[in-house]
């Protein structure tokens, strides 16, 4: 357990030293979101209706950006071998990486989502629902992304393969999260959609690290 925390701590320290990576993700998130008012017009009513969906799609794409370096750097400099021999199960390494990805990407996106949604004129009662859904949603994306990054590790053109692998798997997260926002907009109960989103997270929490760990072992061979 202490080793797991040490690994998360090491990754956080590394991403602090490479602070530009997190900032690039946030800038991408904002810029992608700001393209929509330019493309579909500034009508507040239209934008407000689309805002949750825009925020979600932008968050999903932004979360993909750091994934190809998530294991890539460790794989190339031999650190992955040392991690696999550190006594941690491979699945725990994948879980630690998912946690580090969430802390360095998911959490900043969560903080940036509020301002972006307000800029897109989201309805006042839609904002809390959007943010509440982003908490489990971004963690589910981190888990999925980590497993995907482990699977394409060592593959040629892995960076191109990764979105093709992860985006289809992220569709349930997207559907349940945005349907919660739609329900909130028309005054229907949000709870069922939110629970379904939590169910997706509960499903991914054990499975994604196990798949990622197996993929890491295979990549190290």
């Amino acid at each position: 357990m202490s080793l797991l925390l040490a690994l998360i701590g090491r990754d956080l320290r590394l991403s602090l030293r490479h602070g530009a990576d997190t900032i690039a993700v946030l800038l991408f998130f904002f810029l992608a979101g700001l393209l929509f008012p330019l493309a579909i017009g500034p009508n507040p009513e239209t934008l407000g209706r689309l805002a949750p969906g825009i925020v979600w799609v932008c968050a999903l794409l932004a979360a993909l950006l750091p994934l190809d370096r998530l294991f890539g750097a460790d794989f190339e400099d031999g650190t992955l071998d040392q991690l696999l021999l550190s006594g941690l199960p491979a699945a725990a390494i994948a879980l630690a990486k998912a946690a580090a990805h969430w802390l360095t990407t998911g959490l900043p996106l969560l903080l940036a989502a509020g301002p972006l949604a307000v800029m897109l004129r989201i309805s006042p009662n839609g904002l809390p629902v959007l943010l509440a859904c982003l908490v489990p949603g971004t963690f589910a994306l981190s888990l999925l992304g980590t497993a995907g990054a482990a699977i394409v590790l060592g593959a040629r053109r892995g960076g191109v393969l990764l979105p093709l692998l992860v985006l289809p798997l992220a569709v349930p997260v997207l559907i349940f999260a945005t349907s919660a926002s739609s329900a909130a907009a028309v005054g229907l109960p949000v709870r069922p959609h939110f629970l379904l989103l939590l169910a997706v997270l509960a499903f991914l929490t054990p499975l994604a690290p196990l798949a990622g760990g197996a993929a890491l072992r295979a990549a190290a061979e």
Partner: protein, 217 residues
Amino acid sequence: MPESAARTDEAAAPALLRANLLQARDLAAFRGERLVFEGISFQLAPGGALLLMGPNGAGKSTLLRLLAGLLAPGAGTLLWAGVPAFADRAAWAEQIAYLGHQDAVKMALSVEENLRFFARHADRPIGAALGALDLARLAPLPARFLSAGQRRRLALARLLLSAAPLWLLDEPTNGLDAAAIERLGAMLATHRDKGGMVIAATHLPLPLAGAAELALQ
């Protein structure tokens, strides 16, 4: 645990390691579809050393990765104290310290931070490991400022932080100068005196007295 027994018996011999015997029987490895080697058998007693010799591509690194448990053997068994080593990977990882081709050094972290993640044994402080490889002066520097030889020394310092009896070294002298090779020799001798074992792949003569040799074709 036999650890307390070892402490009381320290003057006589490291009892902890006495029972450890590494036996490889008919190991074979595949890389994809290609058979890299087969029928590798050897035996290593505590304090022993084995040099893997052979031309480029003979499978020295592959054998070391296989012994480390990173690569599943195509055939054969590896016994540690009479028990199959790969049955429990986490337990096996405790027994080995692996130095790969790459140094596994994070450029953005300082020399000391690079080691801190691997320092888990209170009786093996980072300072002593840095001192043994003449890195103490460089401890606060980011690793990106180190030369190739200094990075290699940093990777070697990691070995001193592990309490593992079996060291697997892939070209440990890569990039080292004469003084550093001498320090490595002293390191290896101390490790073997304490009952540790060394398996090293190398092209250059290594400061390993009385090492057995295993030729790979």
